[in-house]
């Protein structure tokens, strides 16, 4: 990160405090706000989808998904995000946008979304039941598996969700301005199962 004289502030600073909520003694849902993520939207230039996939493969050894899937891992992943569109998500301190620009040139239009989205990690044995109270998509293991992603609604809020593993754990991204409202839905939905909110990380 740049050494700047301004402090960053999470949209959840006032609404998501670490601790335990809801049903005492139970941990059906674990919530953690993700920090330090670089998120860049890639939209393939017309007719360049194939070349873009080749460039991604060559540069990072990852197969750019053409269906709602995620390729990669926590360090760098390409998340399908619509037709010929992906979110590149990386942890760490490098300038993701610059590194993508260097390698992909004019094959794709790049847009920084690191601040446009808030990302939560959700895990715990009752995560699916909690999510079902807002997301109408089928998250059953037969229908949605690690690596799958979906753009959908949580209640009335647009979200993108992707599954990390089958414990199960997920990450869910929401437009920053709606992050507080998403928490306003999520915590009441999960309280019957008991919720642990971890410090951001």
């Amino acid at each position: 990160m740049v050494e700047i004289g301004l402090l960053s502030r999470s949209p959840l600073a006032a609404v998501l405090q670490p601790g335990h909520y809801g049903q005492p003694g139970q941990d059906g849902l674990v919530v953690q706000e993700r920090t330090g993520l670089h998120i860049v939207n890639l939209a393939a230039r017309r007719g360049q989808g194939g070349a873009l996939a080749v460039a991604v493969q060559r540069s990072w050894g990852l197969e750019l998904p053409t269906t709602p899937r995620r390729a990669g891992d926590g360090r760098l992943a390409f998340l399908w995000s619509g037709g010929a569109q992906w979110l590149a998500i990386a942890e760490g301190t490098g300038d993701l946008e610059l590194s993508l620009k260097d390698r992909l040139g004019s094959l794709a239009s790049l847009t920084d979304q690191s601040d446009g989205r808030s990302v939560l990690r959700l895990s715990g044995s009752r995560t699916r039941e909690t999510l079902a109270k807002g997301l109408a998509i089928d998250l059953h293991p037969r229908a949605f598996t690690p690596g799958d992603t979906a753009l959908t609604l949580a209640g009335h809020i647009g979200v993108q969700i992707w599954q990390l593993d089958d414990t199960p754990s997920y990450e869910i991204a929401v437009a920053r301005g709606y992050a507080g409202s998403l928490i306003g839905w999520l915590l009441p939905a999960g309280e019957e199962f008991g919720i642990t909110v971890l410090p951001p990380g």
Binding site: A150, L151, T152
Partner: protein
């Protein structure tokens, strides 16, 4: 109603925004006032199968052409509007 988005899969109608008739074509700019009026204002209202434009607003932001029976809500086909549009006109260089 559930619509199978060609990109996202099957979703409830609440994720989509209805636009209207997908059979009308934007006229050439020099077209007559009558042609423009027909394009902007005149719509058939068939009782039965219809071709409609829907927007996957809460999903991938794709415009879709949905073939639907407006009486029963049975859906016969869903296609990306862009593919439909490209197929009907030559791509300019």
């Amino acid at each position: 109603m559930r619509i199978i988005c060609p990109l996202c899969g099957e979703r409830g109608a609440e994720e989509f925004v209805y636009h209207g008739d997908a059979t009308v074509r934007r006229p050439h700019p020099d077209s007559s006032a009558e042609t423009w009026n027909a394009y902007v204002h005149l719509r058939d209202n068939p009782a039965g199968r219809h071709s409609e434009l829907w927007y996957h607003a809460a999903g991938c932001h794709a415009w879709l052409v949905v073939e639907r029976d407006v009486r029963t809500h049975e859906i016969f086909a869903v296609t990306l509007a862009q593919d439909v549009a490209l197929a009907r006109r030559p791509v300019t260089a």
